[in-house]
Each structure stands twice: as C-alpha cells, then as structure tokens.
C-alpha cells in the first residue's frame, strides 16, 4: 500500500493525474476493523476526462514504472488497483475533500468517513450497507452527518430508507 501511495503522489506531481483519493474497503479500514477485500479502489481526476481512453495516461505511466494491468486492475505491490475516474459531483467532492493520512511516512490522500458512507449509500449493495453500519459503529461518522451530506447530493430518500431498514427500532 505504501508503494501505491508513492506511485499516486508521483503521478500527481508529474501531472498524469490532477488529484486522487483512496476509497472503498481499504479506506474504510482507517476507521473500522480490517475487512476482507480483493482490491484497492482509487478515485482519480484526469486531465482529459472526456477522452475514450481517459485512463490511458495512468496505464502508460504505470507500465513505464513496471506496473502492469491484470484484468480490470493494475497490480501495485500486493494490491490489484482499480482507478476510477470521478463520475459524479459526490465522488468529485469526496476526492477534493479527502484527508492526507500518513502511511508509513508517505502522505496518502484518503476519502473521509462521511463521504465513504454516502458513496456506499449511493451504490447500495449489501456490502455497502454493511460499510455504512461499520462506519457508524466506529463513531467515525454520525447519522446526522450522513443525513446532511446525503441530502446535498440527492440521496435523502435513500438515507431515509436505510434508516428505516437498519437503524430505526
């Protein structure tokens, strides 16, 4: 993971990506117990997002450094990494508002707990519901914070449904 942090910082300095933030299960683990996951997900902003090969620059830069694709991901050290271009105002804001964590001495941008919860709410699979519950239990985010952020991104009804299903007595 340290190798991934170094790679992302280098790609940002070189202008291959404008910005990035780790999200998904590997980011969740900052706040909760370790969870089983097969890959690492990274939100990225690329200079030409409308190009058909929006991720071409990332793949080229990774290949030049010896990191090659395996299926949908690029293998970086122990982790297959999925680069996901920001795809909505919510994910763009999540990336921009990310915190810079310290990973064994390397700065590493990571999506905040409230955004992790609301991105999970927007996706809505069973494992995403489990992620929201784990984040709430860890007290890294409150119901009120999720409600506010969900409301700003058109997910108020999804949050009410989640509350009725999992949180209300």
């Amino acid at each position: 993971m340290k190798e991934l942090a170094q790679l992302l910082n280098e790609m940002q300095s070189a202008g291959v990506i404008q910005n990035y933030a780790l999200f998904g299960a590997t980011a969740q683990m900052r706040y909760t117990e370790p969870v089983a996951t097969l890959d690492a997900d990274v939100l990225v902003a690329v200079p030409s997002p409308d190009r058909l090969d929006a991720l071409g620059g990332i793949y080229g830069s990774c290949a030049a450094k010896g990191y090659h694709p395996e299926g949908e991901a690029i293998q970086v050290g122990a982790w297959p990494v999925q680069f996901v271009p920001v795809f909505s105002p919510l994910t763009r804001e999540a990336m921009e508002q990310a915190e810079t964590a310290d990973f064994e001495g390397v700065p590493f941008r990571v999506v905040r707990a409230d955004y992790l919860a609301v991105i999970a709410l927007s996706v809505g699979r069973a494992k995403d519901c489990a992620r929201i519950l784990a984040l709430l239990e860890s007290e890294s985010v409150s119901r009120e914070e999720i409600e506010r952020l969900a409301g700003r991104h058109g997910l108020a009804e999804a949050w009410r449904r989640f509350e009725r299903r999992f949180l209300d007595d």
Partner: protein, 74 residues
C-alpha cells in the same frame, strides 16, 4: 457442548455467564483490532487476501479435478 443441552445448561444461569463471557472476549478482541494502526490493518487485510486467493485456487483445482473425473467415467 453439554451446556447447550435443553434445560440443563441454563440452570443457575451459569451457561449464560459463559456465553456472556465469550461475547465480552470477542468484543474486546474486535476492539483491539479496531485500535490497530491503519497500516497494520492493511497488512492484516493483505493476509486475508492471500488466504482467500489460495482458497479460490484450491476450489478451482478441485472443481477441475471433479470435472475431469466425471469425464473419464462417462
């Protein structure tokens, strides 16, 4: 597993105490994992990943072996 036998185990509440102690131990263990540093949790997840990958390849190998065995028999 005698404490699970209907009627017997709940006498005097001793079995519940055992279960409560077990749950309390589990909760402490979970809290201790949560308190690990992020890099330590990531390393733990890497170990889980390796185990899952090994299990998946073994499951794939077993499925292929079963298929081969079936083909030979028919």
């Amino acid at each position: 597993m005698a404490w699970l036998k209907r009627g017997d185990g709940l006498k005097g509440g001793s079995s519940m105490t055992e279960i409560e102690q077990l749950l309390a131990r589990q909760a402490r263990w979970q809290k201790s994992r949560k308190a690990l540093s992020w890099p330590e949790k990531i390393r733990m997840a890497e170990q889980i990943r390796a185990s899952v990958a090994q299990w998946r390849s073994l499951a794939g190998y077993n499925a292929a072996a079963a298929h081969k065995f079936k083909s030979v028999r028919t």
